[in-house]
């Protein structure tokens, strides 16, 4: 029964037009990717492949200090170097560029180049534009800056209490606590009062980032007549170009943003607010087209998207029989020096904060602390991976404390197949699923009983072999309410509610189909997926379809491949556009066939008259519809051309409660996954070897099983890195000490085992074809699964894994303290 605080939420009726079907010809097939030939032959056209006539190159001077007042900048020696076009300081840039985008409310001002103070190591202090990158870098070395050092905030617990010069944004926030709010969703107090067991753990989630192999960059040009043209590897160009125009102090029609293929994003390239503004401003000030590409160090130090950096204190209330009642947690998140996406990364996980379990109420206190570190931003899972870790770790702990089998405890609390759509205490829903079947399939896939007996045998030999098992949610398809619903109720800021995705579809005179997308390719096979949907709709082959991209002047709102939304959203837009164009084809075709429109249908690439073999191919109709106006009646419905723009809005979202008693439905297309990891821990070294790994996912209807598996395996590898290797280390002085790919260890081919995958398909009743998103994949589960496995391996020592990553030295320290003679 739904809790009274959720009573006002009305689940909107389904807008699905294309149901899941077993007879699909293209959807569900592992066709080769249409993107691949260009990418395999060096024709990917990434940002650094772009070159413009007379183009100059930028390099930047970055703050070596974590917190310092900029007293004086002497750029004369740099300016004197032959080949230097200009040297620009933050104050000079501010003449043409206002502050960068902040979704926080009230906002925290952020300039693409520091003006008065540097607030973290790596913040841009000055930039050089020169004839080539080598000269620009030489000149950077010649800029002299006098700093006055200020107290550094590195530890968030200490930063919270800083005063005076230790406050990072003294004119906008009185202290470094940028945000501190408490929420109860449902009867949290009552549920804890009736609990028979409360399991409480403190947990730590370390900072890292998406770290795509390609860094971020832009190529910008400016002149008075045309305004700005900025090409970058941002995905947000068509979503809020007018906001960026405001940042650049020009009329929106004087900024054209163009996207290019991304060499990976993982969230990192979603917006690129600093790079776009910086590069554009330099182009205007230098009077030259300018290219700026981050080097790897710069990407580490000053990207948009460092991930969560959290300290949880979490409690799960249960009955003795294992029934879960309530979840309550305090989370302190070290957001770094700015609040780019506000505290959205703590809103996102509230979509699935209770996991797949029926938990009656949720309480949260969120404290966002500002420190002298790079800003946080999007990173694959947008904070939800941490919530999965917290709930799964609590459930394992509860199983131990209750003396219950951990699978049995999970099954006892899981939402049952007949209970969907199921509303959780925050107001979000799980649209559909079959969690029990996913768990069963994973156990079979890895042959769990066999591993359990091997484990028993290993223990008799003194080997530390462990099995981890987690059952996690993967929310997909967000409503942008998640970006602001945690902001203060009275000043929510830019409280937008549209997160559409559009396509432009056109059939040319030769009968070929051209589909224009709004946001660039980031690696996730979006072109292949769109091709498959269009093949399904028109009954044509992939070779009949070309995919292109709009820019911010020719396109429509599109947010792109993030938040596991793109496949669902763009498939919806493709269905709308295809339905409209098929109506046009039928009208033209029926006329040519001398039939009634009601008697024809589009099947297998042709308009066919029901029950006959009379037909016209799409090509036969397209040449007429595009070039032979006089062959048709002189009425507007036969106007020349076969083209349409279609926009798909979120299929299932509601607004948050005005006082945030709930957050509304905001991330409802719910995938589910069970990961089982088998590891062996070397007690002497703390090294973890993954012996076997199974990942079973249910993301509804699968468009391309091969590419989905790619996401699952790649995401799991990413999550294994999160669990075992990846951490950005800032020291007490705010120095980022491992900001290179040698010391920040991403998984290599030796670190990732063969991962077994399988799928269950519970189609969503709310999306076209029943598709759910799967792009954040294994990273939702792998950290919790690996932690669970290590803990199981070390169970005889009583060690709990409540922190990620656990690289060998950290694990060895835990083992050492557990085995130290008393």
């Amino acid at each position: 029964m739904r809790s009274p605080h959720l009573a006002d939420i009305v689940i909107p009726p389904s807008r699905q037009r294309e149901a899941a079907r077993s007879s699909a010809k293209w959807i569900g097939k592992s066709i080769p990717r249409v993107e691949d030939p260009k990418l395999l032959t060096g024709k990917g056209r990434y940002i650094d492949d772009l070159s413009l006539p007379n183009m100059a190159h930028a390099a930047v001077l970055r703050s070596p200090h974590a917190h310092a007042r900029i007293i004086r900048i002497n750029k004369s020696r740099a300016e004197a170097l032959p080949g230097v076009v200009c040297v620009v300081t933050g104050r000079e840039l501010s003449e043409v560029a206002a502050s960068a985008v902040s979704f926080a409310s009230p906002p925290i001002t952020q300039h693409p180049m520091a003006i008065e103070k540097a607030r973290h190591v790596g913040e841009v202090i000055a930039a050089v534009v020169a004839e080539d990158r080598y000269i620009a870098e030489d000149a950077v070395e010649l800029i002299e800056v006098e700093y006055e050092l200020l107290p550094v905030n590195s530890d968030p617990e200490i930063a919270m209490n800083a005063t005076g010069d230790g406050v990072i944004h003294p004119t906008e926030r009185e202290s470094n606590v940028a945000y501190d709010e408490t929420f109860d969703w449902g009867p949290v107090e009552e549920d804890f009062a009736r609990a028979e067991l409360v399991v409480r753990r403190k947990m730590r989630w370390g900072r890292a980032a998406g770290t795509p192999i390609e860094t971020c960059g832009a190529v910008a040009e400016y002149d008075d007549a045309n305004g700005y043209t900025v090409t970058s590897n941002s995905a947000f160009g068509n979503f809020i170009p007018w906001v960026l125009a405001g940042c650049l102090k020009v009329h929106p029609t004087k900024l054209k943003l163009i996207g290019v293929n991304n060499g990976g994003s993982f969230g990192t390239k979603v917006l690129l607010h600093k790079i776009i503004i910086l590069t554009a401003g330099l182009a205007r000030l230098s009077g030259r087209p300018v290219k700026y590409i981050e080097d790897r160090l710069e990407h580490f130090l000053n990207s948009d998207g460092h991930g969560p950096d959290r300290y949880y204190d979490a409690e799960l209330a249960l009955r003795r029989d294992g029934t879960m009642l309530a979840l309550r947690f305090k989370v302190v998140d070290d957001y770094g020096a700015y609040l780019h996406f506000s505290v959205g990364t703590n809103g996102n996980p509230l979509a699935q904060v209770v996991g797949p379990y029926k938990i009656n109420s949720v309480g949260m206190r969120l404290i966002a602390v500002l420190t002298n570190k790079c800003q946080q931003g999007p990173y694959r899972c947008f904070g939800a991976e941490c919530a999965n870790f917290v709930i799964e770790r609590l459930v394992d702990a509860a199983a131990r404390e209750l003396g219950m089998d951990r699978e049995a405890l999970r099954l006892h609390n899981m939402v049952q197949p007949h209970e969907f759509p199921y509303m959780i205490p925050t107001g979000n829903i799980d649209d559909s699923g079959n969690y029990q079947a996913v768990l069963d399939k994973a156990k079979t896939l890895i042959d769990l009983p066999a591993w359990k007996s091997r484990q028993a045998e290993a223990r008799t030999q003194g080997r530390r072999l462990g099995i981890g098992l987690v059952t996690c949610q993967e929310r997909s398809v967000y409503s942008p309410t998640e970006w602001w619903f945690l902001n203060p109720v009275k000043t929510p800021g830019f409280a937008l509610t549209s997160a559409p995705e559009g396509v432009q579809l056109r059939i040319d005179g030769s009968g070929h189909i051209y589909c224009q997308l709004q946001t660039p390719f980031i690696g996730t096979s979006s072109e292949t997926m769109v091709t498959q949907v269009l093949c399904e709709q028109f009954g044509v082959a992939p070779g009949d379809i070309a995919i292109g991209y709009s820019d911010s002047h020719t396109g429509f709102n599109g947010i792109g491949a993030n938040g596991s939304r793109f496949t669902v959203m763009v498939a919806g837009a493709c269905v709308s556009a295809s339905h409209r164009l098929k109506e046009r084809l039928k009208r033209f075709g029926a006329h040519l066939l001398e039939a009634n429109t009601a008697d024809v249908e589009v099947v297998d690439g042709a308009v066919r008259v029901h029950g006959t073999d009379r037909h016209k191919t799409i090509a036969e109709i397209a040449i007429m519809a595009n070039f032979f106006r006089k062959a048709f009646p002189d009425t507007p419905e036969f106007d020349t051309g076969l083209e349409t723009t279609a926009v798909y809005d979120h299929p299932l979202a509601t607004e948050p409660h005005p006082e945030r008693k709930h957050l509304g439905i905001f991330y409802p297309i719910m995938g589910h996954q069970c990961h089982i990891a088998v590891v062996e821990v070397d007690e002497e070294t703390g090294q973890v070897k993954i012996l076997d790994y199974a990942a079973v996912h249910d993301v509804g209807t699968v468009v391309n099983p091969m590419t989905l598996d790619g996401q699952v395996v790649g995401g799991t590898a990413n999550g294994i890195g999160t669990a075992l290797l990846e951490e950005f280390i800032y020291d007490a002085e705010g120095q980022f000490v491992n900001a290179n790919l040698g010391q920040f260890c991403m998984p290599s081919a030796h670190d990732v085992p063969h991962i077994r995958t399988a799928h269950l398909s519970t189609p969503s009743p709310f999306t076209e074809y029943g598709i759910k998103g799967g792009g954040e994949g294994g990273r939702m589960s792998a950290p919790a699964a690996i932690a669970s496995a290590i803990e199981d391996a070390l169970a005889p020592l009583g060690i709990e894994i409540l922190q990620v990553p656990v690289p060998p030295p950290r694990l060895r320290a835990l083992i050492r303290s557990a085995t130290r003679p008393q």
């Binding site: 080769p32 032959t41 056209r45 390609e214 060499g263 990976g264 290599s748 081919a749």
Partner: protein, 163 residues
């Protein structure tokens, strides 16, 4: 510093160029020779995206000066197949879904080529060892390994047909 004249073989064709001594081979290939297929991911020799073959051996072009290729043979990803006639290794990468964003791919292809040149029946472990110096953030390596094993089989079959 003055430019130095160098002569070398690039993707099978004799070439010469003037290049300043400090220019990296990666920049030279990409921006002076017009071959953007060699990608630059880190410029400190870790990620492996910029891997090319220098006299048949894999080398990081971001850690090599262009002047060092004087008198040498250089092969880049552009030496393999074309979109309409993919090299068997490229074909295997497509079939096995051994790439997602494509940025690390040229480096992976070149180390695969080097491996298969010397070893036509590598084991999975040997393939992993060969690519262990190349980072991929998208795939988790599984399908890259599968692609290289499949390419080995393709190349063996090709050799048998030509014999």
């Amino acid at each position: 510093m003055k430019p130095i004249e160098i002569a070398f073989t690039l993707n099978g064709k004799p070439r010469s160029a003037e290049v300043r001594p400090r220019v990296l081979l990666s920049d030279f290939l990409r921006h002076q020779m017009g071959l953007p297929g060699t990608h630059v991911g880190c410029e400190h020799g870790v990620c492996g995206s910029c891997t090319i073959l220098l006299d048949g051996r894999s080398a990081r072009s971001c850690l090599t000066f262009a002047v060092q290729i004087d008198g040498s043979e250089v092969e880049t990803v552009e030496s393999l197949g074309t979109a309409s006639a993919l090299h068997p290794i490229q074909k295997a990468f497509q079939e096995e879904h051994g790439l997602q964003c494509g940025f690390c791919t040229p480096g992976m292809l070149m180390v695969a080529r080097e491996l298969l040149e010397h070893h036509d029946t590598p084991s999975e472990e040997e393939v992993r060892e060969a690519i262990a110096g190349n980072l991929c953030r998208c795939t988790g390596y599984q399908n890259i390994v599968a692609a290289i094993l499949s390419a080995a089989a393709k190349l063996r079959a090709e050799k048998e047909t030509t014999v």
